[in-house]
Structures are given as structure tokens and as C-alpha cells.
């Protein structure tokens, strides 16, 4: 038998790691670095550009449109996160109790999660524009669409975001509830814990890890909201529903603000990292207390 020269384990490891990590660098880190570099220029997306130092970053804090988009995105993310988690937790408790058709019901409640958010946005856009107004008119209201109101359009987007995310969060909460052993409840019921008390003192503390997964997932996804905006409002009316991603896409790609929106994107990146780290720290501390 021919004795072939075999690569050592370390050499094999390196041969696997280097090309894959190089690919990751090329299409993730390199564009990230370019984005940071562009953020110090007045590049329009074409033609020549000059270095402007930190001017883009200073302008970010005085630009009314950018401020508005952060205010909108945060309101949306916080309210959607709360709505989603409250409803999914209730649904999960329901779906985990002694009910009939358990598997079918669980399967049905998960459907929104597999649907594409752009198409869901289009469908809800029609519902908000034509169907809900018809209902409110019948009930004696004015019959105007939420989407055409600067003060209500964002609530419509919260509803659509929550409608889709509840599915995923519910499933995660159900798997959390299944980790709670039966005897905890038995012990609890001897002590007279029922209903809200049982939930607050027994169930919830035990599923905090799942709660924190859901919070982090929700916040991150909602902060990056894009498809729903494209489908439902295109940022309107009067720029009241421009999310950060939508503004960066719109003005950066075709609005001649490549450099300025790059600075916005860098700020957005920092904001997401800070929020994620804060959330993880907070829930880690909570976890230690248990």
C-alpha cells in the first residue's frame, strides 16, 4: 500500500478555516469597513467626493428627518415588543394547557411566521385601507384609513409586525413552558398558588431565559423593520413611518446621500450593538438571581 502523506489535524483545521473566514471577511467585514470610511465623506453614490471628517455625524443629530426616523423606529420596536410578548405568552399558556386539538391549533398559530413579510404587508395594507374603514363606518365612525393618518399609521405597522412575530415567540414560550416540571405546580397548588399568583411566582421565573431570547429577537428584528414599510406606507404619510433601514435605503441608494446615510448606518449599528449588549447583561443578571 502506498503511504500517502497525510495532513496533520492542525493543517486540516487551517485549510477549512482560512477560506471560509476569508469569504466572511470579504462580504461582511470589508463592506463594513467601507461603510465606516464612506461615513467620513460627502460621497453621493457617484462622481468625486471629499473628506468631511465628522461633519456627517454632527449633522445626524440635527437632521430632523433622521431624528424622526429614530423616534418612529424606537416607538415601533418597543410597542411591538411589548404587544408581541404579552400576547404570545398568553397564547403559549393557552396552547400548553389541557386543550383539545392541541397540535392543530399550535400548527395554525405558527402560520404567520412562514409567510413573507412583504406580501403580508401588502395584504394588510389593503385591509387597513378598505376593509377596516368599512367596518368603522358601519359602526358610525368616519371610515378613514389608519394608514393615511400621521398619528395612526405607525400603530397599523405595529399590528402587522406583531401579527407575524407572535407566531415565533409563542412557539419559543411553549418550549419554555414545557421545561417547567409538573411537580413545581403540584407543590405550588398545595401552597395555594393559583391563577396570576401561580404565573407570577412559579411559571414566569422559570421561563425567564425564554423571555430574554424573545426580547432580544424581537427588539433586533423590529429595529431593522423594512419590508412592512415598503409594502404599507413607503414611509408616509408625511414621513411619519420612515424606519431607519428604509431611510438609509431610500436616501442612501437613490437620494444622493451615500456618505451621510453611511454615517447614519454606522450610528444604527452602534445602537443595535449597545441595545443587544444591555439586554443580554440585564437578563444575565436576572438569570443569576435565580
Amino acid at each position: 500500500m502506498k503511504k500517502e502523506r497525510r495532513l496533520s489535524r492542525n493543517q486540516t483545521y487551517m485549510l477549512i478555516t482560512i477560506p471560509i473566514v476569508a469569504l466572511f471577511f470579504l462580504f461582511n467585514t470589508l463592506p463594513l469597513i467601507q461603510g465606516v470610511i464612506y461615513s467620513f465623506t460627502n460621497f453621493k453614490g457617484y462622481g468625486d467626493f471629499d473628506w468631511v471628517g465628522l461633519r456627517n455625524y454632527m449633522d445626524l443629530f440635527t437632521d430632523a428627518r433622521v431624528g424622526k426616523s429614530y423616534w418612529f423606529t424606537f416607538r415601533l420596536a418597543v410597542l411591538s415588543t411589548i404587544v408581541t410578548n404579552v400576547i404570545s405568552l398568553m397564547l403559549a399558556i393557552g396552547l400548553n394547557s389541557k386543550i383539545k386539538f392541541k397540535n392543530t391549533l399550535r400548527g395554525m398559530y405558527f402560520i404567520p411566521n412562514v409567510l413573507g413579510s412583504l406580501v403580508v404587508g401588502y395584504i394588510f395594507s389593503y385591509i387597513f385601507t378598505y376593509i377596516f374603514p368599512a367596518f368603522t363606518k358601519m359602526l358610525g365612525g368616519e371610515g378613514t384609513s389608519m394608514l393615511s393618518s400621521t398619528s395612526w399609521a405607525w400603530v397599523a405597522i405595529v399590528i402587522v409586525c406583531a401579527w407575524q412575530s407572535i407566531a415565533m415567540n409563542t412557539i419559543i414560550y411553549i418550549s419554555g413552558l414545557q421545561t417547567v416540571p409538573e411537580d413545581v405546580y403540584e407543590a405550588g397548588s398545595i401552597d395555594g398558588a393559583t391563577g396570576w399568583k401561580k404565573f407570577k411566582h412559579l411559571t414566569f421565573p422559570l421561563i425567564i431565559p425564554f423571555f430574554s431570547i424573545n426580547m432580544v429577537l424581537c427588539m433586533k428584528n423590529f429595529l431593522m423593520v423594512f419590508d412592512q414599510i415598503v409594502a404599507m406606507t413607503s414611509g408616509g404619510p408625511a414621513q411619519s413611518t420612515e424606519s431607519i433601514s428604509f431611510l438609509i435605503y431610500n436616501n442612501g441608494m437613490s437620494g444622493g446621500q451615500f456618505g451621510f446615510q453611511s454615517a447614519n448606518a454606522v450610528l444604527f449599528f452602534v445602537v443595535i450593538v449597545v441595545i443587544s449588549v444591555l439586554q443580554l447583561n440585564f437578563t444575565n443578571k436576572k438569570g443569576e438571581q435565580l
Binding site: P31, Q34, G116, A134, I172
Partner: protein
Amino acid sequence: MNNNDQKMSKKNLKNSGHVNWPVTILLILGLSTIIFPLYMTVVIAFKQPSEMTNSISGILSLPKSWSLANFKEAMEVTDFWNSLGNSLLITVATVALSIVLHSMLGYVLGRTQAKKKGYKLIYFYVVSGMFVPFAILMMPLVKQTAILHLDNMLGVVILYTVFYMPMNVMLYSGYLTNIPVALEEAAYVDGASTWRTYWQTIFPIMKPMHATVAILTALGTWNDVMTPLVIMSGSKNTLPLAQLSFQTQFGANYNLAFASYLLALLPIIIFYLICQKQILGGVVNGAVK
């Protein structure tokens, strides 16, 4: 997970004997929030523009005839089969590449990061990519993919493979901590190379994680709009992207538009109905790990 699930529900039913009917009924009523938008989609997709009225009963009524004409027209307008083919191609290629590349890297990093500082750094470097929003990469990537002639489907596949790398590598290397090193050591002592040991021993063992990775990656890429929108800039359509591209052509013909939306949703709904158990299991596995 699924087995567990079934065992649990069986146990619950046996233990109690009585079904909680109020909760069951509440949950069935609650389903209307999910069914209503889907019902409206189906009804509008089958109706003719002349059947569209502003009265509640008219809005909720079933179409006069279940004609497939709207769907036929929608397929022509949006070039349905082409978009479907592109979506399938992108998703399948991304999933295949992800399983091969991410599992290899996950394996190497999972086995080495405890012992070697360099690999630990690489692990954190890759995983921290999870926090990079697409918004910051988007504009430079448009330029970069154009220069590399990757402003096409191949480019989109490569980008997805990179974007899903942090999550998938984390899943794989996490899963590896449950697989004893002794397995590889045995194969290694028998004279197999590290490369062969990986493909013959480790890769098959990671099958449950392959399923999770495949499902999470497929759901994400199938429904994604932003990446193909930005990178291919209208030269090729995916199924969701076609809805955006042809929005102006639908005009005020909502019946045509809804027929197209329904067509765009159908493949994933059918897939979900067939593989429901695997999908639910995979999603939970991915999120909880």
C-alpha cells in the same frame, strides 16, 4: 423535541381526563385573527373587479365563480414561473452551501476554541457578525458586487451564505459540545484523516442540526426582499421581489394583485403543511440553543 411534545400532550390528557374547553374555545376564536387576512386574500384573488364593493357584506362575500382567470393573468404579468425558479435556485443553493461550509467551520471552531486562543478569537469574530445590520453593508456591497460581477443570483447566494454564517456556526459549534471527542479519536487512531473523519463520522451525526440550519436559512432566504432588491436591482426577480416590481402594473386591479400575492404565498404554505413538524422542531431548536 417533537417526540417529547407528543409524549407531554398525551401525558397531560391521561393525567387530567377533562379537557379545558373554555381555553380551547377561546383559542379557536382567536384563530380568526390569523384566518381573516388569509380568507380575504383568497376571496379577493378569485373575485372580479366588478364584484368589489364597499359594503361589509360585499367585502366578506364569497366570489360568484371560482374562476382561475386572475391567477392565469397574474402568472403572465409577474412572470411567475421564472420568479419561482429563481427563488428555488437561490434558496436551495444557499441551504446546500450553508450546510457544507458552516458545519465545517462550526466543527473546527467547536473543537478548537476551548484550547486555542486564535480559534476562539475567530469564533467571536464570526459570531459577532450577527449584530451587523444589512443597512450598513448594503451600500458598499452594491459597489463591491458590481465590481466583482456578482450583482446576480450567484452574488445573492454568496451574500446569504455569509450573512447566515454567524448564526449557523454558533448553532453547529454549540451542538458539537454534545458529541464526545472520543468518537473522532477512535476513527483517527484507525488511520482516517481528519478530513475523512469529519465527513464519515461527524457530519452524519450532526443531522438534527443540519435540519435546523436548513429550515432557518431557507425560511429567511425564501422570504427576504432587501438583499435581492439591492444587489440584483431589478434584473432578476425572486417570488417576493416580483410582488414589489410589478406593483405598478397591478394598478388598481386588486384582484389581480391578490391572485399574485396568493401565488407567492402558496409554495411556502404547502411546504409548511407537509413539513410542519420538522419546521416547528427546527425553529425551536435554533432559537433555544
